[in-house]
Each structure stands twice: as C-alpha cells, then as structure tokens.
Symmetry: C2
Amino acid sequence: MGIPVDKSQKSRPHIVIIGAGFAGLAAARALAGAPVRVTVVDRRNHHLFQPLLYQVATAALSAPDIAAPIRKLLSGNKNTQVLLAEATRVDVAGRTLHLKDGEAIPYDYLLLAAGAGSSYFGNDHWAEHAPGLKSLDDALEIRRRVLLAYEHAEQEEHVHRRTAWLTFVVVGAGPTGAEMAGALAEIARHTLARDFRSIDPTLARVVLVEGGPRVLSTFDASLSADAQAQLEKLGVEVRLNTFVTDLDGDGVTLGDEHIPAKTVVWAAGVKASPLTATLGAPLDRAGRVKVGPDLSIPDRPEVFALGDLAAAAQADGCLVPGVAQGAIQGGRHAARCILADMTGKPRETFRYSDKGSMATIGRSKAIAEVGAVKISGTLAWLLWLFVHVMALVGFRNRVIVLMEWAWAYVSWQRSARVILTEPAPTPPAP
Amino acid sequence: MGIPVDKSQKSRPHIVIIGAGFAGLAAARALAGAPVRVTVVDRRNHHLFQPLLYQVATAALSAPDIAAPIRKLLSGNKNTQVLLAEATRVDVAGRTLHLKDGEAIPYDYLLLAAGAGSSYFGNDHWAEHAPGLKSLDDALEIRRRVLLAYEHAEQEEHVHRRTAWLTFVVVGAGPTGAEMAGALAEIARHTLARDFRSIDPTLARVVLVEGGPRVLSTFDASLSADAQAQLEKLGVEVRLNTFVTDLDGDGVTLGDEHIPAKTVVWAAGVKASPLTATLGAPLDRAGRVKVGPDLSIPDRPEVFALGDLAAAAQADGCLVPGVAQGAIQGGRHAARCILADMTGKPRETFRYSDKGSMATIGRSKAIAEVGAVKISGTLAWLLWLFVHVMALVGFRNRVIVLMEWAWAYVSWQRSARVILTEPAPTPPAP
C-alpha cells in the first residue's frame, strides 16, 4: 500500500489538501495547470453541496442529486491525485500528514479544509437521539426517522405515544434549522396529508427551539421577523430564548417544560474537525483555527486552515462567515498565496467579498439580504432557487435538481420518500 | 399498538396482502372500490421497480428513482390500509397472519406475495462475500463495493492484490447477471476511464460465470448467442458450463481454477420467501408454493400465492415465468377470484399472457423476443428502454429516469457514483 506519485511530477512542490468541500475543491481547481503536485485527501468519495442537504433529509432530493464524485470533478487536473482516506494527525514540524491506515504523506504545503461537525456543547450522548445534519449518511438517517415516525404513529393506539411520534423538534434556528423546520411542516401539511388512515398528519407538531432572541440571527432583524412569520404561517411553533436542558429518546426538556417527541434534529452548534487540535495553533471555543490575514497559521506559512474550521478575522473584526462563499474564496486565496510564493511575490491579505446571503423556509417562503437590499417572500424564494440550482456542481445535477423541484412544486410531493436500511419499525416502547 | 380498522368497513371481507411488489400492488389496485377491506403488509415502505435494480447497483440511477412509497401509490384506495411490518408466519387453520412485533391479523383472504431472496444452494456463508441483488439496500451495498474496489486498487502497490481489486465476478447469467456484467464492463471501459492516476480502469476484468450451456437461457438460442457476443464485445469474459465450487473474500474457485477477485455479485439462484413454509402447502425445490389453476393453495381457496414465490403450471406444463408481467397478471387474477366468490360466480383458471421478454447488456446492446419475433442490438435496446421507462410507477419516475438515461447516454457518465456509509476504505490485507 502506498501513495502513487507520477514520476514526472516528483520534483514539484507537493500540496496536500485535506477535504474536498467547497474550500478544498476551490483550492484544487485554482491549482490546475500550476507546476505543483496536488494530493486531495477525503474520507468520502464525493463532494457534497451542503446547502441542500436538508432537502435530502426531508425526502425532496436523492442523495446523489447533491453529490458528485471528487475524482470526477478533478479528473481534468492532471497534477492532482485524489485519495480516499481518513487523515488523523498533522505533524507540523515534520511536514507530514498521517492517515488512519498508517500511511504518512510528506507535504510542502498543507491546506486543512476538513470542515466541521455537530457540537452538543458537552452533551455528546444527545447525538444518538438528535442527529445533526452534516453528511449524506446523516441526511438519510434523519429521513428514515421522519418517515418512520409517521408509520409508528399510524400503528400506535395510545394517544400520548402517538402524539410523541407526531412531534418533531428542531434545535437551533440558523439556516439549517429554519429550513428543516419549514420542510417538516410542509411534509406534515401537504406531502403526507392523505396517505394515512388512522392518523391525520396535518396535526403533526413541529417545534423550532432557539437559544437566541430571533431566528436566522445573522440576517437583519426585520428579515428575522419575516422568517419567523413565514415559519409560523406554515404551522411551526417557534420558541426563542429557549435552551434544551435535557434530551433523550422520549423527548426534549426545555427548562421546566418537557415536550414528548420521538424525532429531534440537532442544528444548534458546530465544532471544527478534530484535526485542528493537532496543528499546535491557537483555536477558538468552537475548535476553529485562528488564522492570520493570509489564512495561514502562525509561524507556519506553509499550513493554511480554510472554510468551516478556520476563524478568519476580517478588517472590521468580524469573522468570515461559515458559508460556501467564504470557503470558496478562502480556498482560491490559499492557492494564490502558494503561487505567489513560487514566483517570489508577496502574499496578499484575504478579503472576503460578501455576495449576500439567503435562507429558505418553504415554498415561496425565503429571505435574502444582498448589501442594503432586503427581500422576503416569493421573490426571495425564486432568487434562492435560482442561485442554488445554478451553483450546483456539474451540469447533470443542475437539470435533475430543477426537474425535481419543478415536479415537487406542481404536485406537493417529495419524490425520495424511501426508507433505506432497517426497514421494519421496532415496536413502540410499552 | 394495534391494527387500525375503519369502523364503517369492519363488516366487509378482510383481504390481507403480504408484499407490495408487482403482484401485491396489482391485486390491491384491482380491489380498489370493491366492497372489501384490504390490508397491505410490507416490511419496506416502498414498492421497488426491480427490473432496474441493477442500475442502482451500478450507479446509473439513485435509489428513489426506482422506488415509490407504497402508501402514496395506494393513497387513493379508500378501502386499503398500508402497514409497515414484517410478517413471520401464516396460521392457515386459524386464518391469521402473525407479525414480528407480536400482532396477529385475522383475514378472510390471504394473498402471499412476499417475493424471493437469493439462494446460495446450501452455501449461505457465501452471501457475505457475494451479495445478491434483491433490495435497494443490496444495490447500494454492491455499488459501494464496486466503487471502493477501484479506490483500493488505486492505492495498492502490489500487482497481484491490485489485480484482485480490479477483477469483478458475476455468478449467474440470467437477466440480472447479464445486465450487471455488461454494466460493470461499461463502468470500467468508459465511466471511470480517465479518473485514476495509478491504475487503468479499462484493464479491469469482468467475468460472468454460468452453470448452464448459454447466457439468458430462457430466450431463443440464437438470441443467447447474440447476447454473448454483445457481452464479449464489451470485454466481459463469459464462462459457460462452469460452477462455483468455492468463494471467499479473496476470490472465486471454479473447479481447478481460482480467480482472485475482491468483488463478486451473486445472481445465480432464488429461493422463495420463508413464509411459504408456514402454509403447509406443497413446495418445489426453490421453496415456491405449488398453486392450483386459480393460484390458490390446495384445500385453501382463501389463500393465494403470487409472483416469485409461486410455482404456477401453465397449460403446456411450463411454469409462469418469474417476471413482472407474471406477477402483475397473477395479482389481478387473485383479485378477480375474490370478487367472483363474493358474487357467487365460479373462479376462472389463470392464463398467463406472454407479452414477450427482453434483456439488456449495455448501451445499444439488448435482446428481445416477442412471440416469433426475435431482435437484438440497438433496436432491441431502444425497445427495452421504452418499455421500462413507460412501465415505471408514477409520472415523476418516468421523466427523471428518462433524463438520467439521456444524460448518461450523452456523457458516458453515471451520476450516482456516491458511496454511502463506511466512507474510508479498510486497508488492503497484508
């Protein structure tokens, strides 16, 4: 077992990129054709269009609709090798990346772009009962739980237990939480409305719990209010200034209140990949690497931290937001720094260009903020739809995703209502 | 926990259908609007378009493309209840179906249509190394193994082990085996051709092993020869009159010969659902129920066995073939028998109407036999494509599937090249 190296490229600087998310992929693409040797290490075989992951979790899209093989995306980059492997540790002093299978890869430059996972704020045992939404496997697990909850409810004679199966709690009202809550309400009110005999899915309860004073708090306050109104119009109960104090397989405790709920989705916090801890660089509370103005780590100009696992301060002191654009621009910047080094030019300071942000709640319901322009409702939703479809990687995904949505719009249906693995429901607890 | 019953329908005859495959779904649909009460029991939430399952296994289609929620398909049948549950035993004397969760469902009529699984002819320990292709989970597992095999090969320095990763063996040259082998060859020669740096996927070896004297033996001998030529043109090694004598994680033994191969797919034999053994009816060697001319079991006119788990003799002594049309026609026939009973009319004898059969090898490669008409090549392939797209359940699937195929045809790509679960490869054995 070994890492294959093209002999003709062996003398070139070796750039190792960990993670083929938005940041890693952008960096690899920016290095195409450059006189370097690139190795992209990822523990999954696919790049994931994460902004639409909740659509897989809520059965509107199939897993492959929002994913593309990394190998395929980079097959035109002749200087790039893709390695399906799990990185475990960076030896910064030895300039070597260690893999789970025992291999060690020496590097001249390292771009750490392994992303972030869910944070349960010290309550990791909650994870089992409230999965986060970070990977396709997560999304399929949440889809399975949501669809099975209705099947359990249909077979449950006891009203209290039936109510718990028909109660869905989403923790955290950032973009993922708000989108999940909206989609869960649409499933209950429309998609499943006529498919059951014993239960009325439209009576299902969707609760969105947020510790802060408003939903989608990175947006302007007026848009947060619009989004909350849109969520409530869909039937979502929005609970602000509320913290989860306990959580198990039977429900969620919010201070003095217990909500019996069999299905809980966690969208409350993220923590950086544990790889960041092996860099010996300063980290913030979420485990993110505090990077310098060029996105490299202190005293190690050959090591960059990018995307969700980096804490990059902008000129105004605010951090570059953990969104796709921040990651893409960061990845390109790191590539430019490397090329500058190689030609003896000085590195530039990274400047994040805010192209605006948007979040969707459901059909014809969204908010968008582009500079001073703030819009909500159908126009924002169409803008959201257009931007996300156009941004999807690869021609194929664009067309198929658009078709799926067009059909979903006409029919109120979700076409991916398929439960994979563990087909038969376990009997409800007595 | 209990089985919900609409009170207004409680006095109607209760028809229990086990399995919502082609037979069960056709029966349920034929009973829509009849003065009966229908319960459809399935351990999965989806009806599966099994003829295209190999396309999911070979990453051309996503799982939801060929599946539709049973509940949705039958939501218009107001007399029908869908139950996600696993049947374990039929108490024929007590006219009761027992479920895994302990529930018992009394019936007036029982339609057993639970399908068949893979048979390893007494070598069940082979299953782990050579999965069959019966469910979406099977298909995703095979897809995972096929895609990971190339990833392993890319990282493998030892030529013998690399060869084993690049060797794919399909056991059984019926429609599923022939289609799998053709698709595996296309993946190697076209889809992956340019995506790797260390290996040349076009050198991958695909071996199709068949115990009988020809491939696709249910077709006319001239078409079998055509299909074999098409397979060989794609680079598939066809080994006829050859039996697997042993099989493990390292390869396949064919008598005196050992083929090192890490990826083996089993398409050699089927055995009926184990539920058939609880009927107390005569079974054939494959566990199929020997049914009477009306498809009911001996002395139990209220119990029908349908589809792949039934052995139904036609007038000429041949069995109704285990294809979708046989299952659909059987399901409808059982429904007609029940309605005849209720109106005091005699039951008719089931007559299978052969609408022809076809099998595909790959792009522009297929064979079709409709009565005396035998065609092969592009025309047969277009016919196959048309028939299968049109037959897919539900409008949505038709359009999306056609789009996927159109795109695959133009690009030689397979859009579902996504490995789900167990992302990082285990290191090759030393």
